[in-house]
Each structure stands twice: as structure tokens, then as C-alpha cells.
Amino acid sequence: MDSIRLDNTLPNVFLARTDIQSDIWRRDVTLEKGMTYLIEAQSGTGKSSLCSFIIGYRKDYDGRILFDDKDSRRYKNNEWTDLRRCHVSLLFQELRLFPELTAMENIEIKNSLTQFKTRKEIERWMEALGIADKMQSPVRLLSFGQQQRVAMIRALVQPFDFLLADEPVSHLDEINSKVMADIMMEEARRQGAGIVITSIGKHMNLPYDKTLCL
């Protein structure tokens, strides 16, 4: 997949509003593979909704979202599964980890779908992000910042054309934020993928190609 096009898109909840000032809603925006985007937003402007629309979790929007010119509303279940498994990876704002599994298992459950990364590679990332000692701990016992790093690795253990990260560094310090940004960039470059970061303030330091205001 080379592009995600948001054509006149607007969440249904905003339909009644006439004062929409946005670079995305009600515009025709195309996100290109290989580019890095920062979407800056205030709370309640529909940042997480946008991620949900793209990943196909929610469909309560007006307008169209197209993947390589194909309207996503016409996507069938198996196409969505394929999209989520091999084309678009989402780092959820609420992380959506499985509290009863260990950090490693949370990553493995995703990696087992495509066997995209070896255990060694995963361990290396965990070490780099300073959570190697938490590998076998149930993820519910980890701090939010640690969980954020586990979720980041989980988002990276799959092939993708686009990586959507919904407020990825909200609970990380500068150093860890930097490490995470490096790993992310490196993996995205390696795959030639596009990166879309959303943020309500604190954001990752990346060489953004474009900043959009939601």
C-alpha cells in the first residue's frame, strides 16, 4: 500500500459543527508511504477517532478513506485482517496490552502471526528500551511508561507500510523517548514505511516531513 487518502473525512459527532478548522477533517489529504507526519491536536479533536477509522475499528465518519484509491468501506473482513497484519500497524494510545500475559508474550502474540522478527531482535529492542529485565513479568505489573515501550515493540514486529503511533511518548522521559524514536525510524526506514505520529503536546523528535493540525 502506497497511500492513505482522507477525502472529505469527518467524524459523525462533528457533523453538526460548522467551525471546523483542521488540516485533515473535510479536506483531501493523502499520506504517502516513506514520509513522516506529525498530527498535532488538541484534546477532543478526534485524534484517536482518526486512528480508529484508518484501522477499520470504527466507521462512524462521513466522507471517504481510501487505501491506494480503494474505498475502505468496501473492505471485506479478510482484507482488513490483511491490512492490520501486513500493512498498517497501530500503536494504540491506550496501549491495549493483555495484562495477564508477560511483556514477551504480549509481543510474541503479535509476532507469531507473521514471524516477522526473531526472538533475538525482540530481545535487543527490549534491552535498548531498558525493559529486558521485565521480559517475563506480567505486563500488568509494569509502569505505564514501561508498558508503552512494550506496546511500541509489539507495533514493530510486523511488516507495515504505515506506522500509526497515537501519542507514543506521553509517559516517557527524554532519553527513552529518543531511543524509541530511533528504533522506530530505523525500522520504518528499513521497511520504507510511512510514519504518522499524533500528539497533543509532547512529541517525539523526528525529522517530520509534514506537520498537520487536526
Binding site: 475499528y57 473482513n77 479478510n78 502474540i109 509489539r154
Partner: protein, 400 residues
């Protein structure tokens, strides 16, 4: 798969599943047991008579008190009556019963030592009415062996009455068929013996049958002067359910030996009772199915968020549904296997009882009932799988 299972088995309620398991086991056992029991018991009531076909009717005249003390008219069939019967549209063939008109006694023994002896008699019907191999059902002058067909009730009387009270072994049809009898015939100044052997049992004819040729020969030999009209006749009809037969018989004051009727009634009630029991079993199974579906729904409900996340990170609905489908199919399979085990166990118990009373009972197969069980298993499992899949799909569609 292991990880998904680890994730999705959370919230499995053991009591609920145990409840389903035992309810379903009970239901399945009853569902399988009732048709099996019906199949096993049915031959006792509706044994197919391999000797006299069902479209053969046996007619006699009513014996009144006057007949009995010798004051009334004959109870035999005259030539005219037989011809009249043969000319009826429902009649295909008519044959007369011919009795032996001399004294007969029979003794059975082992190694030539007589153990058991009785006075008896023979009757015959035209050979064409007897549905056994003509090689076996055959007598011609000079033969030293007579084949005999006994009424099944004789064996029953021996087995249930005599053998039981005298602590004698019960005999099956096969064993009786191996015993050789010595038949002594007296009359016309002669006293001669011949060997005899029972070659079959009939539920439809209440007499001791010998081949037509034997009766003709022996009557000429031992009672040449006497000739009597038959008191019973056998009639082949095209359709035994034809009303005109009953009308004709009533009009003429004949009697039809309808020994089948009681058995028919018993079979009907047997079928009714097993039907009701099977229905109860199905009802229990249905309820247990409902329990299982409720448990699965609850389980899916409690795990909705996890299932959603799995779907969002790229798991297909099939893959997410699979652990639950395998769980239910596995339980159904375990129930089926245990139910079949239970069936075999219970059956061996009641068959032992049946065999002690009906030693000649043929041991039927349980395969058709197992096939029924497998069919039910497949149907229920498919239904389970489809329902689970639909439930997961509704989570996919965010309607969870």
C-alpha cells in the same frame, strides 16, 4: 495458538462447563439408549416369521360349546366352502391343513437313551405355503428323516415354564435344531419309527408341521380308511389389509388367527415409550446445548476487550473463534465417547437379562445408533461453531 488459548481461557467457569458436560452426557446417553433399546427389544415382539409369510392368513371355524360336546354342526371346511373362498377376488391361493390320522409319539434323547417322550400329532399345509428351502422341506417315501416346524410358543413354554422351574438349561432355536427325535407311528397294525428334526420355528402357525408328502404317505400307510375335511385352511391374499377379507370372514363366521395383533400392539407401545424417552433425552440435550451457548456467550462477553484487541492487531475472526470452537467440539466429542461407553455398558447389562429369557435372541448391532450419535455430534458441533463465529463477527463489527 497457545498464547491465544492462555488469553481466552480466562473467565472459563468450571461449574458452568461441568453442568453442561453432565447434562449433555445424560441427554446424549438417553438419546442413544432409547433407540438402541427399541432396536434390541423389538425382535421379541415383532419377530419376522421366516416360515409363513405375512400375507398368508390362517382361517378356522369358531368352536362353540355345542361343537365341543359334539352336538353341533361340523367345524371343518367343505369342498364348496374352499372353492367359494378361492373364487374371492382377494384370494390368491387356498390350501388346507391336513392332520395325521394315526397315533404319533416322539422321544428325544442323547446317545440313544430316551430322555423325554410325548404323544403328538402332525399337520401339513401345501409345501408352497412354507417358506423354507425345499431341499430341507422335503419327504418322499423311503426317506428315514422328517423335517419338522414347531410353533415358537412351544419353545417359549419350555424355556420360561419348564426349564425355569426344573432348573434345566434354556434352549435356543439352534440347539433344538440339533436334537434328533425318534418318531413312532402306530396304526393299521403297524408300529414304525422314523427320525425327525426341527428345522424351524414359526410364530404364525399353532401346530406341528411336517411336509405335505410325509402326511400323505403316512396317512395312507397308517390310517388308509379315514379321510376328514380340514378344520383349518391357509390363504394367500394379495393385500392383508383389504377390508373385504374381514367382511367375508365375518360373514361366513370364520376366525382368523391373528397372533400378530398383540405383538403389533406391544411394538406400538414400545415405539411410543422409546419415542417419548428419546424426546426427553433430546430435550435434555437441547437444554444442555443452551447452557453451553450461554456459557460461551458469557465467556466471550467477559473477554470482549481482549478479542477486540486481537482482531485489531491482525488476528482474523476465524483464528479468534477457533479456541472456543475447539473447546466446544472437544467437549461434544468427549460427551459422545462417554455416552457411547455408557451405552455399551448399560446395554451389556440389559442384554444379559434379555438373553437369560430369550436365549435365541439375535445380538443386534449398535453401529446405527453410534452413527446417530456421530450425526448429532457433527450437527451440534457445526451449530456451536457457527454461533461462536457469529458472536466473534459481531465483536468485529463493533456491535459487541
Amino acid at each position: 495458538m497457545n498464547l491465544i488459548w492462555k488469553l481466552l481461557r480466562r473467565h472459563i467457569s468450571l461449574p458452568q462447563f461441568a453442568g453442561f458436560f453432565f447434562a449433555n452426557l445424560l441427554g446424549m446417553l438417553i438419546v442413544l439408549l432409547s433407540p438402541q433399546f427399541y432396536r434390541d427389544i423389538k425382535p421379541i415382539f415383532s419377530e419376522e416369521d421366516g416360515i409363513i409369510r405375512p400375507d398368508y392368513l390362517i382361517l378356522s371355524k369358531r368352536i362353540s360349546t355345542l361343537n365341543a360336546i359334539g352336538l353341533s354342526t361340523v367345524n371343518t371346511f367343505s369342498e364348496e366352502e374352499m372353492e367359494d373362498l378361492a373364487s374371492q377376488p382377494f384370494a390368491k391361493r387356498v390350501g388346507a391343513f391336513t392332520s395325521s390320522r394315526y397315533k404319533v409319539s416322539c422321544s428325544m434323547g442323547i446317545d440313544g437313551i430316551a430322555q423325554f417322550g410325548t404323544e403328538m400329532f402332525f399337520e401339513s399345509v401345501p409345501d408352497a405355503f412354507v417358506d423354507v428351502d425345499l431341499q430341507k422341506w422335503h419327504f418322499s417315501e423311503g426317506d428315514d428323516f422328517v423335517p419338522i416346524i414347531l410353533p415358537k410358543t412351544y419353545l417359549a413354554i419350555y424355556n420360561f415354564g419348564f426349564a425355569q422351574s426344573q432348573n434345566l438349561p434354556k434352549l435356543s432355536e439352534g440347539i433344538v435344531g440339533m436334537v434328533e427325535m425318534t418318531i413312532t407311528m402306530r396304526g393299521n397294525g403297524l408300529n414304525e419309527c422314523i427320525k425327525g428334526r426341527v428345522i424351524g420355528f414359526s410364530t404364525r402357525i399353532n401346530t406341528i408341521l411336517a411336509p405335505e408328502g410325509f402326511i400323505r404317505w403316512s396317512n395312507t400307510r397308517y390310517a388308509p380308511d379315514e379321510a376328514t375335511e380340514p378344520s383349518r385352511i391357509i390363504l394367500e391374499v394379495s393385500n392383508p389389509a383389504d377390508d373385504s377379507i374381514v367382511n367375508y370372514i365375518n360373514e361366513k363366521g370364520y376366525e382368523m388367527e391373528d397372533d400378530k395383533l398383540d405383538a403389533g400392539r406391544m411394538t406400538f407401545f414400545l415405539r411410543l415409550v422409546s419415542g417419548i424417552v428419546m424426546l426427553i433425552g433430546l430435550l435434555i440435550s437441547l437444554l444442555s446445548f443452551y447452557i453451553l451457548m450461554l456459557s460461551i456467550y458469557l465467556l466471550v462477553e467477559k473477554n470482549t476487550e481482549k478479542i477486540q484487541t486481537l482482531l485489531l492487531i491482525g488476528y482474523s475472526p476465524e483464528k479468534v473463534a477457533m479456541p472456543y470452537q475447539l473447546l466446544t467440539i472437544g467437549m461434544n466429542a468427549a460427551v459422545l465417547l462417554l455416552a457411547i461407553g455408557g451405552l455399551v455398558l448399560v446395554r451389556s447389562f440389559y442384554m444379559k437379562q434379555i438373553w437369560s429369557v430369550f436365549p435365541q435372541m439375535y445380538d443386534g448391532s449398535i453401529l446405527p445408533v453410534i452413527a446417530l450419535g456421530i450425526m448429532l455430534f457433527v450437527m451440534v458441533s457445526i451449530l456451536n461453531a457457527v454461533i461462536i463465529r457469529r458472536r466473534i463477527n459481531s465483536i468485529w463489527n463493533n456491535k459487541g
